[in-house]
């Protein structure tokens, strides 16, 4: 059957050619990619765009950075993907935040996943937790609120945009703990995102909102809300200069919400260092500072080993805390 054998030869050639072509494409440097472990439009999306737009504008990457979405399990799907499937991709970074560290501590990324399973790259910005009340609330400062809570922890309705065990709940729980109040006695209401919680605050359905500082700027400007405390190590500048920290009011609570990135565990030191340098350089450019402020982020520069240590310490701290407040055994 001469016809079929020639057909077979052609097919074989085509397959071989196709394989070669695929190989060539594989060998060629792929464009840099950032995975946002969420649906489009959320905080992780903005984190990826911060790197993508910043690196592009500062000409620190040759090709535009691809932003892909991998929603699922509040980041768990992406974490499993990077530790398992694309664990050595030198062009791939993944957006992360304090929330990811908390989920790792609470083992929400899977029982086997730990903070040591990826290479922590660096953080480009940070926001801080804030304790917010309406402008007509009876409490003028944090201490007055805490005294009220001490007297009767369930007399005040606290709300925020996350479930029990989430970042937003942790802020409230830490505040309670700093005044020796059992966090489990708080009356906490979880909403779908900070926007809904803020609406509930303005509509007098809740009395205290544990939100994020920069997020609240519009309502702060209009005088509708009063921020009783910023959960930062020190006062921030500009429009936030009048907002005292919790620490200076005698309650030692900090809640930085950093926005950073990690890479796969088997990425070479060389590729890892190249990314560390890229981000470090980016954080020092002036155009980036503008971009960062546009996203409502305060400066934070922690890269490479420095950042790796920071995240690991944070996760260890969260694990400890979770036990203390009764989230895990």
């Amino acid at each position: 059957m001469p016809k079929s054998s020639s057909l077979r030869r052609w097919l074989a050639a085509a397959v071989a050619g196709g394989a070669l072509l695929a190989g060539a494409v594989q060998a060629q440097a792929k464009p840099p990619e950032c995975i946002a472990p969420a649906k489009p439009g959320g905080g992780y999306d903005l984190t990826c765009r911060l790197a993508a737009n910043g690196l592009q504008e500062a000409k620190l990457i040759d090709e535009p950075m691809l932003v892909t979405y991998m929603p699922g399990g509040i980041g768990a799907v992406a974490y499993n993907h990077v530790t398992g499937v694309r664990n050595d991709d030198p062009n791939l970074i993944v957006a992360a935040s304090t929330g990811a560290a908390l989920n790792l501590a609470l083992k929400k990324f899977g029982a086997k996943q730990s903070v040591d399973d990826v290479r922590w790259l660096g953080a480009l910005g940070v926001d801080y937790g804030a304790v917010v009340v309406r402008n007509d609330a009876p409490w003028q400062n944090l201490d007055e609120l805490m005294q009220a809570l001490k007297k009767n922890p369930s007399s005040v309705v606290i709300g925020a945009g996350g479930t029990i065990g989430s970042q937003d709940w942790m802020k409230a729980a830490l505040m309670a703990k700093s005044a020796s109040i059992d966090p489990r006695k708080l009356r906490y209401v979880s909403f779908e995102g900070g926007g809904e919680a803020l609406a509930a605050l303005l509509g007098e359905h809740i009395q205290v909102f544990t939100g994020d500082l920069a997020e609240l700027k519009p309502q702060l400007d209009s005088g509708e809300v009063r921020i009783l405390a910023a959960l930062a190590e020190e006062r921030q500048g500009g429009p936030y200069a009048d907002i005292p920290t919790a620490k200076e009011q005698g309650y030692d609570v900090e809640w930085p919400i950093w926005r950073g990135y990690y890479m796969g565990p088997k990425v070479s030191d060389e590729a890892y260092q190249a990314w560390v340098e890229r981000l470090r350089e980016l954080s020092q450019t002036e155009s980036f500072a503008k971009l960062r402020e546009g996203r409502g982020l305060f400066p934070m520069s922690k890269f490479g080993d420095d950042f790796d240590q920071y995240v690991k310490q944070q996760v260890a701290g969260f694990s400890q805390l979770a036990k203390e407040v009764g989230l895990t055994q």
């Binding site: 439009g41 737009n53 993907h81 369930s154 709300g159 309502q219």
Partner: protein
């Protein structure tokens, strides 16, 4: 007082911005028409592009808002033509839209829904212009207890859909509620029905649900027909393509009522087009379905949800522009887009950025007119899509949806899930269930549970919070009325007008 609007028209009527409004309307119609790419994804895809192109804030907002409102227009197309909702707000549109297409009235159905969309959006934009700050104050009064009462009302209205087989409607809705419980529990963070699969932590994605339930099951039905060599000749040939003035007039009250319902629900933060169109449809069925023809291709049953979903899209701008709180998932992304430009939407925006607010509202007016002009003549063109054989059309749309969903999840799990849901939908249809109650149960059930639990955490477990405010009492009464009056009405009719019922 309306200086900002005059200024806004000045901004919106520049050639660049007019062009962008047109582009947004066109792209939005396309994004809405393709199942799997809704307004949220469309905006998320184009937002970085607008930013990279260096468009000024008001221009890119005009583009993105055009996409948003445009996709509410586009969503109806595949609902009517394929019985597959193009986006969340278009589920109810399938109920009467597709039967109309089957009768050969695809063209008029598309035309009528374009007109209803236009009127719905216009009413809502007027409402936005005139009452935005006032409405914002009322909107935040809607707390968890009031939302819970609203959901009860929505479920009670659903009893209107129980036409042929009440038990199956009820079972369908309950199945939907059950599916909505998958994922991280919104109150305590406990995982429910996730079977250790992180892909299920966030619950089942709406798009995955819709494509599986409607499109995949449709393909399975078609396969079955092909296998048994059935005639798939359920489609009547396409008749006339233009909608008649008399048809629009027949629907005028349905459209106006639904526009108001849609706008009000759109203004509430946390509820969007899907709730709005469901409430509008069931309300309209109650009011004007005298011969029980809703669900078999009644023009009012098509006009009502379409007016409502467009009205709710414009309504959701109210809390975003006045309070800085998104009224829907899509406005949440628009909010993010504004922040890219260092504009913080909120109470100060009308004062600090009148150009942006005015430009946006003006462009909503302009975009809306463009969408009508674009969609009326296109109705005839799109109706011709039905001349493509269904065995080719539906799988092609499904493939597009698969690609879209995969692109968004970068994960095969979403595709498998869609297939499983598709088989589930196929079985439901084989057993004679309607799919709309399942979807409504899925959407409303999640919202109802969340808000009930929020209300109870606020009150510390005291149920009385659910009927403490005037708003919630009103909603409870309305719910009781829609659920029980028909029962009594039937009995009264039977007693006093025996001649008519016999």
């Amino acid at each position: 007082m309306f200086d900002f609007l005059i200024q806004g028209f000045g901004v919106a009527l520049t050639p660049l911005n007019l062009g962008l409004a047109f582009l947004g309307a066109l792209l939005g119609t396309l994004f809405g028409a393709l199942p799997g790419i809704g307004p949220i994804n469309g905006i998320a895809i184009l937002m970085p592009l607008a930013y990279t192109l260096g468009l000024p804030a008001e221009s890119s907002l005009i583009l993105l808002a055009g996409i948003y409102t445009g996709s509410e227009y586009g969503g109806r197309m595949s609902s009517i033509l394929l019985n597959v909702p193009g986006d969340a707000g278009a589920v109810m549109t399938t109920l009467d839209g597709h039967p109309l297409a089957k009768k050969g009235l695809a063209g008029p159905a598309l035309g009528l829904s374009a007109v209803s969309s236009f009127i719905g959006a216009t009413v809502a934009i007027l409402g936005l212009t005139l009452f935005a700050p006032l409405l914002a104050i009322v909107a935040v009064k809607f707390g968890p207890a009031e939302f819970f009462a609203l959901m009860i009302f929505a479920f009670a209205s659903m009893s209107a859909m129980m036409g042929k087989d009440p038990l199956k409607t009820l079972i369908g809705a309950v199945l939907g509620v059950l599916i909505s419980t998958v994922g991280v529990d919104s109150g305590t963070g406990v995982l429910r029905f996730t079977f250790d699969m992180p892909e299920l932590y966030d619950g089942i994605d709406f798009v995955v649900m819709i494509i599986g339930l409607f499109a995949v099951s449709e393909i399975l039905l078609m396969l079955e027909h092909a296998f048994r060599h059935d005639q798939d000749g359920e489609m009547a040939p396409i008749g006339r393509v233009m909608v008649k003035m008399s048809e629009v007039l027949y629907c005028k009250w349905a459209i106006l009522r639904s526009s108001v319902i849609g706008f009000v629900i759109g203004v509430l933060p946390g509820t969007g087009a899907s709730v709005a169109s469901a409430v509008a449809y069931t309300t309209e069925k109650r009011i004007s379905d005298h011969d029980n023809s809703f669900g078999t291709g009644n023009m009012r049953g098509l006009a009502a949800p379409e007016a409502a979903n467009n009205a709710s899209a414009a309504g959701s701008f109210v809390p975003m522009l006045t309070l800085g709180i998104p009224g829907s998932g899509t406005t949440a992304i628009l909010l993010g887009a504004l922040m890219l430009y260092n504009i913080n939407p909120g109470p100060m925006m009308f004062r600090e950025q009148p150009m942006v607010v005015g430009g946006l509202i003006a462009s909503l007016y302009i975009g809306n007119v463009m969408l009508l002009l674009l969609n009326l003549p296109l109705a005839g063109v799109f109706a011709r899509v039905l001349q493509v054989p269904r065995w080719l059309l539906v799988p092609s749309v499904a493939i597009l949806a698969f690609v879209g969903v995969y692109q968004l999840h970068s994960d095969l799990m979403a595709i498998y899930l869609m297939l499983v849901i598709g088989v589930f939908g196929y079985l439901l249809r084989k057993f004679g269930f309607s799919l709309a109650p399942v979807v409504l149960g899925f959407v409303l059930g999640g919202l109802m549970e969340e808000n009930l639990r929020r209300a109870l955490s606020i009150s510390g477990g005291d149920l009385a919070i659910l009927w403490q405010s005037g708003l919630s009492i009103g909603l409870w009464i309305a719910a009781a009325a829609v659920a029980f009056i028909p029962l009594f009405a039937g009995r009264l009719k039977a007693r006093f007008l025996p001649g008519r019922t016999a």
